[in-house]
Amino acid sequence: MHDLVAITALGGAAPRVDTVGPVTFTEVPDVALTSVAARLGQEAKAREALANVIGAPAPDIQRIAGGEKTAFWSGPDQWMVEAPYNGHHDLADQVKAAVGNTASVTEQTDAWVRFDLRGDGIPSVLELLSQLDLRCLSSGTAARCSIHHVGCYLLCRDANHYSIYGPRSSAGSLHHAVLTSMRSVY
């Protein structure tokens, strides 16, 4: 076996954590991610199968739902499923086994980087970065948007906890953009 050292999307041995004012910005590497796209004519069955996977009804437009495995809406009849990497390193296989031929499932884990923002006043940071109407974004909302010209998913888990999924290859640019915004606000 090769003796390889795992590094995070930003290249560190440990996840990067930055705190500016009331907001803490964290790199979150231990997430498994997979996309689910319902096949033509199978939308209702796919929705049902996805509900069994996440233990909650499949999320509606721009919503997040689930427990340990969480799904968020990414487009019409399309979702992303996320889960802790430990125990779900084969998340795509697990989801595929559950949805069968009703949906197409694609492994996404290493395509994305996740950053979490925690604390008070996160919308003030994000409104410099995104065109979304952040003051109207309620808990449990997932919306796709451009941040610093990078296509991202923005998840409002609750008022003091947001997640950003961006392309892993743009992790550095995204980190720079968010940190710059945090420093300019606080």
Partner: protein, 95 residues
């Protein structure tokens, strides 16, 4: 310019990219007798109305859906926004 996305609500036009005339949905049958003529029309001939125009827009920085936007080319007023797949299905397309 704001496009009122049928699923997501009002979104800025900069999130979208423009393709062109919504008649592009009506792709001719490539196996038909008159396929060459039909494709000539399809690929090269467009109406250029001063007024209401139905056109395809792609929500690239959003949910990646294709939309049919009815826009007045004189005033930029947008009077209707539909999901392109609904329009295509209403015209008898199966995919």
């Amino acid at each position: 310019m704001i496009i009122n996305h049928p699923l997501l609500g009002p979104r800025d036009a900069s999130e979208f990219t423009y393709l062109g005339d919504a008649s592009l949905i009506d792709r001719p049958d490539g196996m038909a007798e008159n396929a060459a003529d039909a494709f000539y029309d399809y690929a090269y001939l467009r109406d250029n109305p001063a007024g209401e125009h139905r056109e395809l827009w792609y929500h690239e920085a959003g949910d990646r859906s294709w939309l049919v936007v009815t826009r007045n080319t004189l005033t930029h007023e947008i009077s209707k926004v539909e999901l392109a797949r609904d329009v295509a299905r209403a015209r008898g397309r199966t995919k």
